[in-house]
């Protein structure tokens, strides 16, 4: 009996399959995104488009792959569930993220060219998508510090995509709404657990009004050191955990 191991050649074939099957949709989708970025290149707008288009992309990808005749066809492709999941994660996370950056770059260059050719104005290229500047006032001086948040944004995007991948594997209809509601519900339970922990275990009087106060208070000295460790470890394992849950869900998925 053959072993059910992961083969990167198979993953490549699955990605190729998606590209061949959807090239016209891909061209249309990324052309629209590029046009958006030509008109609006505001940093926050780009991040907003990244997350919203990511959700649409993830839900569409899974809806097309998992339901009805498409579902039968996808499940019958001779590849392991791990290979199928990895190819999907690659497409809706890595590929999508870099395509957004690519579209942003093209959109940015296009708008600069248009300004230059039509208005004869030289506009500087806006490449500071992941550069965050902080102004701190101290002793009458303004300290300007800048840091790169590429990995933070990529991590948050991967987390969002993992949530919606899992949601689209669980729900058949109204995937976005149901996933958001489930996330809020789980968040509320988590919030209540935090309240109980703060009140009865550590007797902490101050609490941030954020949904996840424990994350806001990570640097709070009043928190026991074990909490710091749990939060740090938790932030690293949440994403793989969501992928593993998605894998088991895909394994148990019936079409």
């Amino acid at each position: 009996m053959m072993k059910n191991k992961v083969d990167f050649r198979q993953i490549n074939l699955l990605i190729q399959r998606y590209m061949f099957e959807n090239w016209s949709k891909e061209v249309l989708f990324w052309s629209i995104i590029t046009m958006f970025f030509t008109v609006l290149d505001n940093r926050y707008f780009v991040i907003f488009v990244l997350f919203i288009s990511g959700i649409i992309y993830s839900v569409r990808l899974h809806k097309e792959l998992m339901n009805g005749t498409n579902g039968i066809h996808f499940m019958m492709i001779p590849a392991t569930q791990t290979e199928k999941l990895i190819s999907n994660i690659f497409l809706n996370t890595v590929y999508h993220f870099f395509m957004i950056l690519f579209s942003y770059s093209i959109g940015n260059v296009l708008v600069i060219l248009l300004y230059h050719v039509i208005l004869k104005i030289n506009v500087p290229v806006n490449w500071d998508l992941f550069q965050v500047t902080n102004n701190t006032f101290a002793d009458g001086y303004i300290l300007v510090s800048s840091r790169n948040v590429f990995w933070q944004i990529f991590g948050l995007f991967a987390f969002s995509q993992a949530i919606f991948t899992l949601g689209s594997l669980y729900f058949k209809n109204n995937i976005v709404a149901k996933t958001i509601l489930s996330f809020i519900f789980i968040g509320f339970i988590f919030f209540m657990v935090q309240l109980i922990l703060f009140k009865f275990l550590w007797d902490i009087k101050y609490l941030s009004n954020a949904l996840f106060p424990i994350l806001v208070m990570i640097n709070d000295a009043t928190l026991p050191p074990i909490v710091h460790k749990i939060i740090t470890i938790g932030s690293y394992i949440t994403l793989p955990y969501l992928w593993v849950v998605s894998y088991f869900r895909l394994k148990e998925k019936e079409v």
């Binding site: 009996m1 059910n4 039968i72 499940m75 019958m76 001779p78 392991t80 019936e254 079409v255």
Partner: protein, 281 residues
């Protein structure tokens, strides 16, 4: 001959629905073309889905090519091809369809694929799938399925949408593809399409398999004939009015083989299964 399917005491029902398959047992070996017949809603498509691991049994065990289907092992999927009644709505050209999907099947034969397409008179130029009619799409999928050289080929209503010459070509192709290593199961309502093609008949009724016999065994023991009027004879097991006259199934005491009338056999089995089975046993 190799054991391809082994189903033991299978039970299945969809969520909050009545039982669809009940205590179903089925053992099939390679080297045969099986015709699966049953009324609507008996669970033929469900049975196919269970064999492929697309849905999971409530009770019982399924073994396909020595794999458990629910694990969807690549080793099994490499050698199982399922053609559902509804065609997958791809937009690829034939060339690209082959380019994308053939690498997943280790024993895929490109030569056979184009030979079958040619037999079906399909224009293989770089035409978009969407431009083909339903019947043509079905022919392409059939050709692809046969070219995979899968050890188990499941076809759900494959002749739906095929014109008369295509049905004849389909029968010829299936017969030419069948060998001692593979097992082909064709589920259909159109029993005429199975005649002269299948060598084993499987009949489902009341959510169970009530009959599973080789055609040679059936025609050895049963005689099919058409009479002008109803007769009274101890050898007659079943008779019914047909367009040609009165179709009869008799115990074959003469040893002369007659041609099998699947529709008549199906009706006879639904009418009195035990009587027919006693004769066959």
């Amino acid at each position: 001959m190799r054991k391809v399917i082994d189903i033991r005491n299978l039970e299945f029902h969809y969520y909050r629905q009545e039982k669809l398959l009940n205590n179903l047992n089925l053992k099939l070996k390679s080297g045969n073309i099986h015709g699966l017949i049953g009324k609507n809603g008996e669970g033929k498509t469900t049975l196919f889905k269970l064999i492929c691991g697309l849905i999971f049994p409530i009770k019982g065990e399924i073994e396909v090519l020595e794999y458990e289907p629910r694990k969807r092992h690549t080793g099994m999927l490499n050698h199982v091809y399922f053609l559902p009644e509804e065609i997958y709505p791809t937009k690829l050209s034939i060339l690209n369809y082959e380019r994308v999907y053939a690498p997943f099947y280790p024993e895929f034969s490109s030569g056979s694929f184009y030979k079958y397409l040619n037999e079906f008179s399909i224009d293989t130029k770089n035409t978009n799938f969407e431009k083909f009619s339903y019947g043509q799409k079905k022919k392409i999928m059939i050709a692809f399925g046969l070219a995979t050289n899968a050890k188990l080929i499941l076809m759900d209503e494959p002749t739906n949408g095929l014109d008369i010459p295509s049905k004849r070509q389909f029968r010829r192709m299936i017969s030419s593809v069948s060998n001692k290593d593979n097992c082909i199961i064709i589920s259909t309502h159109q029993v005429f399409d199975l005649e002269n093609m299948v060598d084993n008949i499987i009949i489902m009724d009341e959510h169970e398999i009530i009959f599973n016999e080789l055609i040679t065994s059936i025609t050895n023991k049963l005689q099919f004939k058409v009479s002008k009027k109803r007769e009274k004879n101890d050898l007659i097991l079943y008779q019914e009015e047909t367009a040609k006259g009165v179709g009869q199934i008799l115990e074959n005491k003469t040893g002369v083989e007659s041609s099998l009338d699947i529709e008549l056999l199906f009706n006879a089995l639904l009418f009195d299964c035990e009587r027919i089975k006693t004769v066959l046993d």
